[in-house]
Structure formats: structure tokens, C-alpha cells
Symmetry: C2
Subunit: 418 residues, 2 copies
């Protein structure tokens, strides 16, 4: 009756995993974690009524989660309601943490997020990575990871996983960077170049940005299109609260949607791709500016200062985005389009022409467009939170590891290799 989407989607009923009582237990543990995580401190009774189990059943589930260190008892609630007050439960601020990392064109960043979603440690290193080979870059990243892991350890956190955002296409294996034009990396197995003791997951920066919007955005629906541009233009397609990855993992390549079929040639072999009109390079050229560092900030400043050439360039980019998004909206019927990444800073000058184009080409009410509040932080946060979500999705799996790692064993391993 259900089909899957995000990572752990149960395939059709025919091929789902055997449905046994242990599986039921695991799913119910997950439901408790998700409920407490999403709706703040909650009593056992409140959780029970929300997930449709009895108080007794929830009690045993909670006991198990507390023993595993994933939930904490905060003490009695102080309610105005009649009846015995419940004992507030909250997700633990100690225990497993999600480590997120980002390989940017001119920076590296790592952070640790606890189960509550708080950032507990972070490290950044500026420096141009474009054109450097993967090995030294990832060696630096590994050093940052170890630093953050050590910081987190000092706060009682152990790393439950590492997720790495890269600006490029990543295969569905979650390890291999197929093509990262801005880094000039091709078919690189990042999994082999990252800390072996901390199994890494690699994904596209746009995808993690979209997930961050999904998980952290205030009013983000479960179906939307998250458009982000760094140098290329990528989109995260979120359907029913999960990421649409595509067969090879290449879904969301909005930058190569044809906008004008006879337009200028593109590196992809096509003509008139969106990237030729709204990509960073194209916009800078149209604005009469040279490529360089912090080009987005430059564009925003110039536009704010009233530079006509820049404004026109952004206006035209918005038009092209509107055309490409019309196609995407017709195909996917999302509830919302979110402009994220570098686009969020340029939104004031992109939006008018973008929305006009979208409205002009849509029969009914056009798809609303909003601007991400996360900005450039999105991918890093999305990566870290993806690990946290994995813990919430299967707390039992983590509980098993917790025994081994509560003693700090993983931390030791990571540290001793530093």
C-alpha cells in the first residue's frame, strides 16, 4: 500500500524486508524518536496518543531509548491541566552526533550536530580548492573532521556517521564523485579518501541543501523544488518528504535544461542550457565583470548600488530561470520553489522577472517561489542532519553501536590516527 522514497524506502509490498516483530519494534522505536524530536519535550502519554500506541507500550520503548542514551528524562512537567503531570522526555544532547562536511570551491567546512539539532562543534578552512587533486584536499578535510570529532567528544558526543557535500554529480553508491567541474574531479571514490573508521556518505551539495530546507525550514512543505546555484545550477527534487535521486543519482540537473534550443553551446554538448543564461560565469560576463573570489557578493553589492548592467544581467538570468522552472513545475507540480545557495542573496533582483515568467506561462495560479533563509549554510547543515535523521530513523541500530562507542572507542580510533 505504500512505496518508498528516501534512502530506506521499503520497496513494494512484494519485496519489503520480512515483517517480523523485531522490525515492528524497530519501527516503533523510530516513531517515538521522531515524535519526541519533532514536537519538543513530551510525556510518555503524549507520545502514545500521537503515535497510536498504548501508554504501556510507549513506556517500554522509552525505557529502552533512555538506556541507550538517545532520550533523556527532564523531570515532571508543570502543567495547568488537571491530572498528574507527565514526565517530560527530550532527545538527548549527548550520545550520537552527526558529522557534516562540505567541500566548497574555495573552502572546507565541518560541523557536528547533536540529536537535538544543535551545532556543537565546527571548523572551517578557507583556501581555493579548484584544480587541486582530491587527495590533499581530502587529507585536509579529514584533519578538520578529526578536530571536530575531538571537540564533540569533549562534550560527550560520539560520531554516528559522516556526510560530505560536494559540488558535483555523485553516483548512487554515495561514495563516487562522477563529475565535479568546478573542482575538476572525475570518477573519484571519496569513500576511500576519508576516515575509514567513520563510514562516509557523499552527496551533491544541492541535495543536502534541499534536505536542510526540508528539515530546518520554517514552512517548507513535503513537496518542493530547491534550486541552488554555486557555479553550476542544481536542484533538489523533494517529493513527499524524500529526495528524488534518479537512476544514476543525477536527478535535479536543472542547469542543463534547455531554455533556448538554439542558444549558445554548453559544455554538456547541448545548446542554450539554463547554465548559459543563469550560471555564475554567464551572469558575470553579461554584467561585464571578471571572474574572481566572492563573485556573488560582488554581484549583490553592485546590484544594490544600482549598477544597471548588473541588474539587467540578473533580470535576464531570472527570466531564464523562470523558463526552466516552468518546465520543471509542469513536470513535477511542486508545492513550492525555493531559491537557495547563492541565489538567495541575489533573489531581490532575480525574483521579479523569474516570477513574471512563471506566472505568464502558467494557466492557473502559478507555483509560489520563496527564498531560503539558510543561505550558504544549507549544504553543510543538511549533511550533518542527514546523519541525525538516520539515527532517528533506526535508533536500534545506533543503540547497538552505542555500547561499543560509549567508552569512546571510535573517538579513540579517530584521534589516534590524527
Amino acid at each position: 500500500m505504500t512505496a518508498p522514497l528516501h534512502e530506506a524506502h521499503p520497496a513494494g509490498p512484494g519485496r519489503a524486508l520480512p515483517d517480523t516483530q523485531q522490525g515492528m519494534r524497530r519501527r516503533n522505536l523510530a516513531r517515538v524518536m521522531h515524535t519526541v524530536s519533532a514536537e519538543g519535550p513530551l510525556s510518555r502519554a503524549a507520545v502514545a496518543s500521537r503515535i497510536g500506541l498504548t501508554r504501556a507500550a510507549v513506556s517500554t520503548l522509552v525505557d529502552e531509548l533512555i538506556r541507550s542514551g538517545l532520550l533523556e528524562e527532564l523531570g515532571p512537567e508543570r502543567p495547568g491541566r488537571v491530572g498528574r503531570p507527565g514526565s517530560a522526555l527530550a532527545v538527548s544532547g549527548r550520545g550520537p552526533a552527526g558529522i557534516g562536511a562540505e567541500v566548497g570551491v574555495d573552502h572546507l567546512a565541518v560541523c557536528a550536530v547533536d540529536l537535538r539539532g544543535e551545532i556543537r562543534a565546527r571548523a572551517v578552512r578557507h583556501g581555493v580548492n579548484r584544480g587541486r587533486s582530491p587527495e590533499p584536499v581530502l587529507a585536509e578535510l579529514t584533519a578538520l573532521v578529526r578536530q571536530v570529532v575531538a571537540e564533540a567528544d569533549a562534550e560527550g558526543l560520539w560520531p554516528a556517521g559522516l556526510a560530505v557535500a560536494v559540488p558535483g554529480l555523485v553516483a548512487r553508491d554515495g561514495r563516487t564523485v562522477v563529475r565535479a567541474p568546478n573542482l575538476d574531479w572525475h570518477d573519484t571514490d571519496l569513500g576511500a579518501l576519508l576516515p575509514a573508521e567513520l563510514p562516509p556518505t557523499v552527496d551533491n551539495e544541492a541535495n543536502f541543501g534541499g534536505l536542510a530546507e526540508l528539515w530546518l525550514g520554517e514552512t517548507t512543505p513535503r513537496d518542493f523544488l530547491h534550486v541552488s546555484a554555486e557555479i553550476g545550477i542544481g536542484a533538489a527534487v523533494v517529493v513527499d518528504g524524500g529526495l528524488l535521486r534518479g537512476t544514476r543519482g543525477f536527478a535535479g540537473e536543472l542547469g542543463h535544461v534547455p531554455v533556448r534550443p538554439d542558444g549558445p553551446e554548453c559544455a554538456c554538448g547541448g545548446r542554450g542550457c539554463l547554465e548559459q543564461y543563469a550560471g555564475e560565469e554567464a551572469v558575470l560576463r553579461a554584467a561585464g565583470l571578471e571572474p574572481g573570489t566572492d563573485r556573488v557578493g560582488l554581484l549583490a553589492n553592485r546590484a544594490a548600488d544600482g549598477d544597471e548592467a548588473v541588474r539587467r544581467a540578473l533580470h535576464d538570468a531570472g527570466t531564464a530561470l523562470g523558463i526552466a522552472l516552468t518546465g520543471a513545475v509542469n513536470l513535477l507540480d511542486p508545492q513550492l520553489v525555493v531559491l537557495g545557495g547563492a541565489l538567495s542573496g541575489l533573489a531581490p533582483w532575480l525574483l521579479p522577472s523569474l516570477e513574471a515568467e512563471l506566472a505568464r506561462r502558467t494557466a492557473g495560479p502559478p507555483c509560489p517561489v520563496s527564498v531560503s533563509l539558510l543561505g550558504p549554510e544549507g549544504p553543510l547543515l543538511g549533511a550533518a542532519h542527514s546523519v541525525v535523521r538516520a539515527v532517528l530513523d533506526d535508533p536500534a541500530a545506533v543503540a547497538e553501536r552505542a555500547g561499543a562507542t560509549a567508552t569512546g572507542r571510535t573517538v579513540d580510533i579517530v584521534a589516534e590516527q590524527a
Copy 2:
């Protein structure tokens, strides 16, 4: 009781239905049904090993399904293998049936499909429906449905649900036709105009065509794009074995993807939509032919005869399709594109330019394109099978109704209103 069409994806663990033992039982019943349905006659032991349960557990599940009349015991297998031969189980050819119906521009069709997937009854009525108001058309359809239900009843089948394919946009409620340009229907609640005793589900013809391809196609993968053109051009977006419907149910509107942003105006308000180049009307005009009945057959005949104007028109339509599909493929990264419906008959003349365009605009190996073998039968079969799938997806729900309907009560109700 609802006959839910294939839903996109299960919600996250946080909002799933309470995970109780009854739910487990239901899912395991469904897994047995799916396995037997997909892999032909199978012994209990074979089913057990496939779904990962023990033989004992499968035995009780099978007993229940046999008592409900959903499975049949065919008798001992005749194997060359050592050991006691198993007793072959097959999906029952009696019991619940899926009723599929299609409202075409110039025909109505209804069929009944049993759990085995066999068509057991059908009725067609030719006659132009364009421009007629919904009430008389659906009254005729209802008569056909009753006729088919009566025929099915004579073979020991009772209707488990009715699914109706219409050439237009259908809201997510599965009842309301928002816009069917070729029928000139708007905001019509078909649910209210169909047999009340047989809860109907309404969906887009393109969606049902895509589902038919998914369920009945020989080599169809779980991620593909099924393009079908009758008068408009629609696509079914199939992701991980499920249909992507979009927020309002309007996903897959490939016909209004911009191909040339400054092209001719379209009824949707846009310019240069695919429909302006590859829609039936546009192609006929480009070929120098008049609109009329069986225009697709005419096009195919003329093209086969070597009519240059027709061939050029189809070549150009293929090019436009290629451009629009390039965008779709970049966005969704499907494993395959299938040309269905009217396009399948014209494929020989569309494919060369279509594939050339797709290949030219793709960096790596282009997305393969195939032609549906179901042709115009797709939507009707998809509709009927969607009901069958709903039964396979939750046999327990049907088993409850089976008691009431085994006596022919539903059939009587349907019949007595005739």
C-alpha cells in the same frame, strides 16, 4: 473502503500508521499475494523463502487467503527435484475483479480484470464525446459498467472497485476532473456521476497508461517516464515503482514544457509549449491535413506511404519532443523513456529526430527510449489493474468485504439499478 491508487511514498517513520501486530499480519498477507501473483504458481515453501518468513508462518497466511478466496491450491507440483513436491498455489481466477473504464474523446470502454490479470469481460461504445456534457456520457459509461459487472458476475467475479481514466487533469481527491480540454469539461465531480455502490477512482489517462506499462511491460524498470499523446501530451512520472502525482495531482504536464520560449502562443498562456510543436493539432497542421477522426491512423498511413509533408511534420515533432525530454531527463534521471498511446504508432517517424536531439544534448550516454507495446489499450488496462493492485496491496480489507459480496450483494445492487 478506498481503492487507493498507488501512492507515491510512505511517510517518514514519524507519521506512519501505528505499527501493531494486525498491521504486520496485513502486510505479510499482502506480501504473500504479491509474491504468488508475480512469480506464478509457487509452493508454500517457495513463498516462505522468497519473503523471508518461515514455512509455518506462510502456511497460516496462505490458509487465510484460501479461505478468503484470494488464493487457490492447484495441487501437487511435478518437479524433477528431490524431496516431497510442494502444493502449487495460484491467485484465484474467481472472487474480486478490477473494473477499469476509459472516457476517450470518441469512445467509451470498460473492462473487468481478475486477480490473475486476465481480462474477463469488456464493452466498448464508439461515438464522439467531445463537447457533450458529462452527465449523459457518464450515464452511458455507467450502463457499460453494469453490463461488464453482470458479465463478470456470470464468471464468479465481483467488482472490488472501479477506476476511470479520463483525458484531462484530475485533482488529488481522485474524483474531480479539473480540466479536460478535449471534452470541454471543467471542475466536474465524476464521483457523483458514477455508480454510487462501486466507489470510483478517477485519474489521468496518461497516469494509468504509465502504470500499465509499469505493471504489464516486459522490461519496464521502476523509474521511467511514460509519454503519451492523445490530443494533449501527458507524461506519467514513475519513481521507484510509484506514480509521482504532484501537490495538486497535475504532475507530468509535459505538453506545456517550454520548447522555444518565444514560440507560438498556447492556450495555457505560455509560448512555445511542446504541445505547439508535437500536439496532434499542430502536427496535422504542419502536415497539411485537416482534423477529423482517427487522425493518428491517417498520419501513420501517410507517413508509411512516404508522404514528405507528413514525415517532415513528424520529424519536427520528434525534435520538439527531444528538447522537452532533455529537460525532463536532466531533472528526473529516469532509467528509460517510453513512448505510449498514440505516439507508439508514430514512433518510427518520431524516434530518429527525438533520439538524435536527446543524444546531442546529453553529456554521457543518453537516456534510452523505447516504445510501448500496449498502445491505446494502456490506460484502460492500467485502470483495471490499479484496482487489482489495491487488492493485492491489502488482501485483508477485501477479505472482509468478500463475506458480504460473495452472496452477490454488490452485484445485485449494481444490477437492480440498471
